[in-house]
């Protein structure tokens, strides 16, 4: 009984002790490719870049973000009552695996309402759709 308590305590502790994330590659890619604009904690920056934390659009359709990443996004976009209007450039050279990992990290870390893991087949299905028509989101 006592041993078991210690065991659980240790497990819980180790979760807090290390910088725990289930999606280390997604985290690294997010920090390298997205955090410059959206912020390390996805808090956004002034009215230039929207936060990605508890994003309504992301919750409604997380797979859409795969298309945003490969096609970029431009034009007025309202998030939490603020109209953003800068350009997010398309990010080139990411594989479907990498994109899926980014989506999962963004979901897991900043959008707890979105059930993870997001599925790579659905990511590919969506990428196929928006590949030829960047307007389809």
């Amino acid at each position: 009984m006592k041993n078991r308590l210690i065991f659980y305590a240790l497990i819980t502790f180790s979760f807090f002790a290390c910088d725990y994330t289930s999606y280390p590659q997604g985290k690294a890619l997010y920090e390298g490719q997205c955090s410059g604009c959206h912020g390390l904690k996805a808090e956004g920056f002034r009215e230039l870049y929207p936060p990605l934390t508890n994003s309504e659009n992301f919750r409604k359709d997380p797979y859409n973000t795969a298309c945003l990443i490969v096609n970029g996004l431009e034009g007025p976009l309202e998030v939490n009552g603020i109209t953003y209007d800068q350009r997010m450039l398309a990010i080139e050279g990411l594989t479907d695996v990498q994109i899926t990992n980014i989506l999962n990290f963004v979901a897991d870390e900043f959008n707890p309402k979105v059930p993870t893991p997001l599925n790579i087949d659905l990511v590919n299905e969506r990428l196929e759709k928006c590949k030829n028509d960047p307007k389809v989101y």
Binding site: C37, R46, E47, Q86, R87
Partner: protein
């Protein structure tokens, strides 16, 4: 004959003694002048008519986010901080802008300090685009100018500020440029710099700016 040699040696020494040191644009170590610490004047030096002529920012004329002309006269009796960016830049610019914003807030009550950000993406960053960028960043053109102009002239100015900036299709967003911030005094001399991507470097830079403000 012997005298001739002596003469040449004397001339040689003479030049050696009066030619001023060049100041490496990457070295901003303070110097002592009359027992007081001072910021160096960065860049090349020449002797003209027996006087030292320092590297000076040439004439320029650009348009800012409120469609006003920004030129050397804009910064008369002022000092200013310079950077180069573009609005859709994904990697270094947002970091640099956050740091310039720190300076903008820190020196809020110092009307003698101005900011000048050049867009190097003249095609996309129109005056309207810069206007919305300035608004969304929450800054005023009273103190912080976001300018556009003739592309070649902007790239040439980058050289004069010792900042690397050029087209590069391999770089994110199509431009390769450094995130350096440059400090210019009221005589158009470059007096210091910071790495705009590094918060600690910018904290030090605040001291550099104060030193220049205190100069007279």
């Amino acid at each position: 004959m012997k005298d001739n040699w002596l003469f040449i040696i004397i001339i040689f020494f003479g030049i050696g003694c009066t030619a001023p040191d060049q100041q490496d644009p990457n070295d901003q170590t303070t110097i002592m002048v009359d027992g007081k610490k001072q910021l160096p004047i960065l860049g090349e030096r020449k002797i003209v008519d027996g006087k030292t002529v320092f590297h000076q920012i040439p004439d320029f004329s650009f348009i800012n986010q409120d469609s006003m002309v920004v030129n050397n006269a804009t910064f008369k009796d002022k000092i200013y901080v310079v950077d180069f960016f573009f609005t859709s830049c994904p990697t270094i610019c947002p970091k640099v802008k956050k740091q310039v914003l720190r300076l903008y807030d820190e020196f809020e009550k110092e009307p003698r300090l101005q900011f000048l950000s050049h867009s190097i993406d003249v095609k996309y960053d129109t005056q309207e685009k810069l206007n919305s960028y300035g608004k969304q960043l929450g800054i005023s053109s009273d103190r912080w100018h976001l300018v556009t102009g003739v592309e070649d002239e902007i790239f040439e100015m980058a050289d004069d500020y010792f900042i690397a900036a050029h087209h590069d299709s391999d770089a994110p967003g199509g431009f390769d440029h450094s995130g350096r911030l440059i400090l210019v005094d009221q005589n158009r001399h470059v007096r210091g710099f910071a790495e705009g991507t590094e918060p600690e470097s910018v904290t030090k830079f605040m001291g550099t700016i104060r030193m220049l403000l205190d100069e007279k």
